[in-house]
C-alpha cells in the first residue's frame, strides 16, 4: 500500500521521488561495440516508475542498441544495470520479460500467419479446461487490450498479415501492454500511425504512466516527444549529451543537441520548367484508384497526400509498372509508357523508394554496398559484366552526401540502424540517376537532421532537373518540400493545390472531403 | 499344342469367359520379354475365350506397389492373377486373394515367406548365385580377386544372388579373395566408378560380379581401362546393352532367367487350373538360367 502511494507520488513529480526511492532502472557505464566499432561509449541512465522519458538521437546514435541491452536482447561489453536498486543481468529477452520489461521493436514483428488475438497472446496463450486454446477468452481479452491502445476497430480474429503497417504497430503495442510491464520500451511506435491513431496511443501511454509504468519513448517526431514526455534524453555518438524537460526547451535546442548544429531546411521557390515530365490521363487501378489526371513538370517536386488507404502507394505502383493500370494513359516526357514490370520503369528512368523498408526495401543478407548498387547494375555495366570495382567509389560519395552512418560499406545492411537503412535505399534510387523519382513515405524513421539533409538533396536534384513525386502522410513534409500537392481521397483525386494555396488546413480539409 | 516359346498347352474351356490379371513392373529392358510373354499368352488364350490383361505396376519396384496391384485386381474381380511379387511382404495379400478363391501364380521372384500361391515359376536367387559362382571359379582358376557390386543393400533378391555366389566361393575356393561388396543402386554409372576405384586399390583384380542392374557400366569401365581380356564381368540378364559387351569380351558371363517363357507358361497353367482344376506340375517350378558366354555371342 505504502509502496503504491510512493509510486503515485513519483509519477506526480519524478525528480523529487528520485531522491527518496531507488529508480526502477539505473544503468551505469553501458558500453557496446560491434566488431570494434563503438556504438555506445558509456551511457548512464535512470528511469523512474511513472515517468515517460523521450529518447532522441540521430539515426545510428545507438538508441535501439541501448534498448536491446536494457531488455536483455543484447549483452553490454561493459557497465551495469540495476533494477529497484539491485543489480540485474538479463541473459535473454525472456529474462527481461520475466522481470517486467516489454519492448516494442522498431521493426514490425507480428506473426502474419496468426490471428490478431493469437499475436497478442503469443508466448502465453490461455487454455480452457479442455487443455485447448481458449479462443473465446483470448478474443475478449484482445478486444479490451486493443481498445486500450485506441485500436478497438481491429477485429481480433483477423489474420495479422492482412493488417496495414499502422494496425500491426498498434497490435504490437497492445501486445506489450498485455504483459503488464514495469518498464515499457517503445522504439518508434508512431512512425506508421495516423494522427488519429497517435491520439489513441498517447492516451494509452498517459494511462500507463499514471499506473506507475516507466516508459521510454523513442521517436524522430520532436513534437510528439515534447507533447508526451516528462523528460527528454538525447543520445549522440553513443553518449548522453543532454537531459531536458520539454517545458524548458525548444525544438531547435533539441535538434542542436542531436546533431551538434541546428538543422534548417527552407523551402526554396523554384520556377518550374515548361517541359511536361509526367502526365496521367484517366488512370485507374484494379484496387481503388479511378480516373486520375495529373501533370507534373520537369524539375517539380510534386506531393501526393491522402489519408491511410487513399491510394497513394497504388498510384506510385502504377507509374512504376508494378501493376498495370486498368484504364487511362501514363506518359513520361511526352512518350506514352506501357510498363509491364518495374525493370522497364527503371530503364525508362524512373526510380522508386518504396514504402516498407523491411519488406520491400532492403536485401537483408546483402552488404550496404550491394544494396545501394542493385538498381544501377545495368547502368554501370561493361557488357554483361557488372562494374564491381566502381561500387565503393559511388557508395562513398552517397555515404558522404546522405550522411550514412556505418562501420564499412561491406557490412550487412540489416546491421545498420533503421534510419540509415532508409538512407541506403535512397542512395539506391539516386544512383540509378532517374529522370523521375518516386518517393513513398521516404523519411520514415529518418532523424530530423537527416531529414533536412534529404530534403536538401531532393531539392538540389530537382533544381538540376529531376522530377520528384513524393507520397507522404506528414503535412509538414509536404509543406517543406513540394511545389504542388495532389490530395487523394478514397482513390479519387480530391484536388491539386499549388504553393500559394497550400496550408495544413487546406490540405487536410481536402483529404477529409469525401470521408 | 503349346504356343511358340512356351512349354504348356491349354485345355478346352468349358467354363465360359476367363479373365486373368498379369501384374508386372516396367522400368528396364528385363521386363520387355515379360511383357511380350504376357501378350503372347493373351493371343494364345483368346482362342479359348480367356483374356490376359497386362497391368503395369509402374516403374518403382516395391512390395507396396504389388499389394496395391493385387488389391486392385481383386476389386476388378479377375478370375486369377499372375504376379511378380519379388519382395517379402507380399505373402499376406497373396493368401488373402487365394482365400477369396482367386488363385495367384508367382513368377520371376518371390519373397522368402511361404504363401498360398498356386505355384511359383522362376529362378531361385541363391542357386542362381551359386551357378554364377561356379562359373566364376572356373574362369578364375580358383584364385585371385573378385570384386562384388550389388544393386541395393538389403534387397532380398540382390542379397541372395550375392550370397549364393560368395558363400559358395568362400567354402570351396578360399584362394579367391572378395573385394566389396559395394552398392551401385542398380546404376550403370555407379558400377563404372566402382570398377575404376576397385582397380586402383586392387590392380590385380581379375573378375567383377554385378548382382543386379547396370553390369554393362562395369564392362564399359573395363574397356576404358584397357583391361579387356584381363578383367571379366559377370552378371544377369540378356539385355541388349549387356550382350554388346559379351561380344567385345569385357563381359564374360550372363545368366538369363527365361522371362518370356515364365510369363507365357504361368498364364497358361493358371488358365488350366481355373477352367479344369488342373494343378501345375509342382509348387515350385525351377527355371535354370541359361548362362551365356562370349562363345554364345559369336
Amino acid at each position: 500500500m505504502m509502496r503504491s502511494d510512493n509510486l503515485k507520488e513519483a509519477a506526480a513529480s519524478g525528480a523529487a521521488a528520485s531522491a527518496s526511492l531507488p529508480p526502477l532502472i539505473r544503468a551505469r557505464g553501458i558500453a557496446k561495440s560491434f566488431s570494434g566499432n563503438a556504438v555506445l561509449q558509456s551511457v548512464d541512465l535512470d528511469l523512474h516508475a511513472g515517468e515517460v522519458v523521450g529518447l532522441l538521437g540521430e539515426n545510428g546514435a545507438g538508441k535501439s542498441t541501448l534498448m536491446h541491452i536494457l531488455s536483455g536482447g543484447l549483452q553490454p561489453d561493459a557497465g551495469t544495470v540495476e533494477m529497484d536498486g539491485a543489480p540485474v543481468r538479463f541473459g535473454s529477452v525472456a529474462d527481461g520479460i520475466e522481470a517486467g520489461v516489454s519492448f516494442v521493436h522498431q521493426e514490425l514483428s507480428v506473426v502474419g500467419a496468426l490471428s490478431v488475438a493469437e499475436n497478442l497472446h503469443l508466448g502465453r496463450m490461455s487454455r480452457s479446461r479442455t487443455g485447448l486454446v481458449d479462443f473465446k477468452l483470448m478474443e475478449e481479452a484482445s478486444r479490451a487490450l486493443l481498445e486500450r491502445v485506441g485500436a478497438g476497430h481491429i477485429e481480433p480474429r483477423r489474420e495479422a498479415a492482412t493488417l496495414r503497417a499502422g494496425e500491426q504497430q498498434l497490435v504490437e503495442i497492445a501486445k506489450a501492454a498485455a504483459r503488464k510491464p514495469r518498464l515499457l520500451i517503445l522504439d518508434e511506435p508512431t512512425s506508421s500511425l495516423t494522427p488519429h491513431e497517435v491520439g489513441g496511443f498517447f492516451s494509452y501511454v498517459r494511462e500507463a504512466r499514471a499506473s506507475g509504468v516507466a516508459i521510454i519513448f523513442i521517436t524522430h517526431r520532436l513534437e510528439e516527444a515534447m507533447a508526451l514526455c516528462d523528460r527528454v534524453v538525447v543520445l549522440r555518438n553513443g553518449a548522453i549529451v543532454s537531459e531536458r524537460r520539454p517545458a524548458e526547451t525548444s525544438r531547435q535546442q533539441l535538434i542542436t543537441d542531436m546533431t551538434g548544429k541546428p538543422a534548417i531546411y527552407e523551402h526554396r521557390p523554384r520556377t518550374a520548367s515548361d517541359t511536361m515530365a509526367l502526365s496521367l490521363k484517366g488512370v485507374s487501378g484494379d484496387r481503388l484508384l479511378s480516373g486520375i489526371d495529373l501533370d507534373v513538370r520537369m524539375g517539380e517536386i510534386f506531393g501526393l497526400f491522402g489519408l491511410v488507404g487513399a491510394g497513394r502507394t497504388e498510384l506510385l505502383d502504377l507509374i512504376h509498372g508494378v501493376h498495370r493500370p486498368t484504364a487511362g494513359t501514363i506518359s513520361l516526357f511526352g512518350e506514352r509508357l506501357s510498363l509491364s514490370d518495374p525493370s522497364e520503369a527503371v530503364r525508362a528512368g524512373i526510380a522508386l523508394v518504396p514504402e516498407g523498408r523491411k519488406t520491400a526495401g532492403i536485401l537483408p543478407q546483402h552488404s550496404v554496398r550491394d544494396n545501394a548498387a542493385i538498381s544501377s547494375l545495368r547502368r554501370f555495366s561493361r557488357g554483361i559484366f557488372s562494374d564491381r570495382g566502381g561500387d565503393p567509389r559511388r557508395m562513398a560519395s552517397y555515404r558522404q552526401s546522405l550522411g550514412i552512418r556505418m562501420a564499412t560499406d561491406t557490412q550487412e545492411i540489416s546491421t545498420l540502424s533503421g534510419g540509415n537503412q532508409q538512407k541506403v535505399i535512397f542512395a539506391r534510387a539516386l544512383m540509378a540517376e532517374p529522370r523521375l523519382l518516386l518517393l513513398d513515405e521516404p523519411t520514415h524513421g529518418v532523424d530530423v537532421g537527416a531529414k533536412a539533409d534529404l530534403y536538401d538533396i531532393v531539392t538540389r536534384e530537382a533544381e538540376k532537373g529531376l522530377t520528384v513525386v513524393i507520397a507522404s502522410s506528414e503535412v509538414p513534409e509536404i509543406l517543406a518540400l513540394c511545389d504542388r500537392v495532389a490530395v487523394l481521397s478514397k482513390g479519387r483525386l480530391a484536388g491539386i493545390l499549388d504553393r500559394v494555396a497550400m496550408t495544413e488546413d487546406t490540405i487536410l480539409t481536402m483529404a477529409f472531403k469525401e470521408h | 499344342e503349346a504356343p511358340e516359346g512356351g512349354s504348356v498347352a491349354a485345355v478346352e474351356n468349358t467354363k465360359g469367359p476367363v479373365r486373368i490379371a498379369f501384374l508386372s513392373f516396367q522400368n528396364n529392358p528385363f521386363w520387355t520379354p515379360v511383357t511380350e510373354g504376357a501378350k503372347a499368352a493373351n493371343d494364345y488364350l483368346t482362342k479359348f475365350d480367356a483374356t490376359v490383361d497386362f497391368v503395369d505396376l509402374g516403374d518403382e519396384l516395391s512390395a507396396e506397389a504389388v499389394v496395391a496391384g493385387i488389391e486392385g485386381a481383386l476389386a476388378k474381380k479377375y478370375d486369377g492373377i499372375v504376379v511378380v511379387p519379388i519382395f517379402d511382404g507380399t505373402a499376406r495379400i497373396i493368401n488373402e486373394a487365394t482365400d477369396e478363391g482367386v488363385p495367384v501364380f508367382n513368377i520371376v521372384a518371390e519373397g522368402a515367406t511361404e504363401s498360398k500361391r498356386l505355384a511359383f515359376i522362376g529362378q531361385d536367387a541363391i542357386s542362381a548365385g551359386q551357378q554364377i559362382g561356379e562359373y566364376i571359379a572356373k574362369k578364375m582358376d580358383g584364385k585371385g580377386k573378385l570384386g562384388v557390386i550389388t544393386g541395393y543393400f538389403g534387397a532380398t533378391q540382390h542379397t541372395q544372388r550375392m550370397n549364393g555366389a560368395v558363400d559358395y566361393l568362400k567354402a570351396k575356393f578360399p584362394d579367391i579373395q572378395i573385394v566389396g561388396p559395394f552398392e551401385n543402386k542398380d546404376k550403370a554409372e555407379s558400377a563404372y566408378s566402382l570398377v575404376q576405384d576397385m582397380m586402383t586399390a586392387n590392380p590385380d583384380l581379375s573378375m567383377v560380379y554385378v548382382t543386379a542392374g547396370g553390369p554393362f557400366g562395369a564392362a564399359k569401365a573395363v574397356k576404358d581401362l584397357n583391361l579387356t581380356g584381363k578383367v571379366g564381368v559377370v552378371g544377369f540378364d540378356h539385355t541388349p546393352d549387356n550382350m554388346q559387351y559379351l561380344k567385345t569380351g569385357e563381359m564374360v558371363g550372363l545368366l538369363d532367367q527365361a522371362p518370356y517363357q515364365q510369363a507365357l507358361d504361368s498364364s497358361v497353367m493358371l488358365y488350366n487350373y481355373i477352367v479344369a482344376g488342373q494343378e501345375p506340375p509342382a509348387k515350385v517350378i525351377p527355371v535354370t538360367g541359361k548362362l551365356l558366354t562370349p562363345d554364345d555371342a559369336k
Partner: protein, 318 residues
Amino acid sequence: MQTGVAYIRSLGRYREASVLAMLAAVALYLSFASDYFLEPRNLLNVGRQASVVAIVALGQALVIIARGIDLSVGSVIGLSAVVAAVLMRDTGSETIGLMAGLLTGLACGLVNGVLYTRFRINPFIATLGTLSIARGIALLMTGGIPVPFGGLAEFVGAGRIFDVPVSFLLMIVLAIVVHVFASRTVMGREIYAIGDNPKASRLAGVNLRAIRLIVFALCGLLAGLGGLILAGNLASADPNLGMGYELDVIAAVILGGTALSGGRGSILGVVIGALLMALLNNAFVLLGISAYWQVVTKGLVIIFAVGLDGLQRRGDDD
C-alpha cells in the same frame, strides 16, 4: 445462386481447395471410366493405400509448417520396423517390439531435432545424414535380410473392422488429433508462429528450441508408426522399407497447400494430398494404363492440381 457462387469462390481462398477439386475430378472421371471404382471395397483400398503416406505426412507437415524439413522419414520407417521385428522375434514379446519400434522413431526424430537445435545443422543436411545412418543401422541389424513381422502390427497394417481397413481408421483418428493439436493447442499455434516468423516468436517468449525439437520428435514418432503399419501390412520388416518415401510424403504435404517456407498449412490438406496420390495409383491399376504413361500422367496431375491454385492467385506475391 449468387451466394452459391460466392461460397465456391470463398473456398478458393484455401490453398487446399485446388487439390480437393483435382481429387474430385479424378474421382468423377474414374467413376465413369471404371465400373469397379465406386465399389466400397475399392474405395476403402484407396484409403488404406493412402494411410501410411498420410500418417507420416502429418508429422512432416508439422515440421514443414515450423520451417523445417525431414528427409529421413523413409529410413526411419525402415529402421523402426526392423527394430520392432527384431525385438519381437528375440524377446518374444509383442508389446516390447511395438514399443521399441515407436521409440526408435521418436529417437530418430529427437536426434534430428538435436542436430538442428543444438548443433545448428541445417535440417535438410541433418536429416539427409540421418537418412543414411538410419538405413545403415537397419541393414546392420538385419544383415540385409527381411525379418518376419506379425501379430497386432499385422492387424493394424492389414486388418479390417467391418470391412474398413484398420490403418485407414487410424489415419482418420490421427488426422483429427493432429488437426486439433495444430489448430487448437498452444503448442500447435506456436508451431505456426515459429514457422512464420521465428525471430518475432522468440522475442514473444516462444521457446523455439523446445518446439522445434518436439516437432521433429513427433515427425519421427509418426514415421515410426508408419513403419510398423507398413511392415505389418506386409508381415515383414525389410531394412529397405520406406526407401524413397520422403519425396512422396513431402509431395503430399505440399500438394495439400502447405508452404515450404513455413508458417502456413493445413492438416486436412495433407490428407487430401495423400489421397490424391493413392487415387492416381489406383486409377492406373483400374484403367490399366501403361507404366510409362503412368509416370507422365502422375506428373501432369501434380502440376494441374497446384496450377489451378497458382493461376487464381496470379499477381499475388512479390
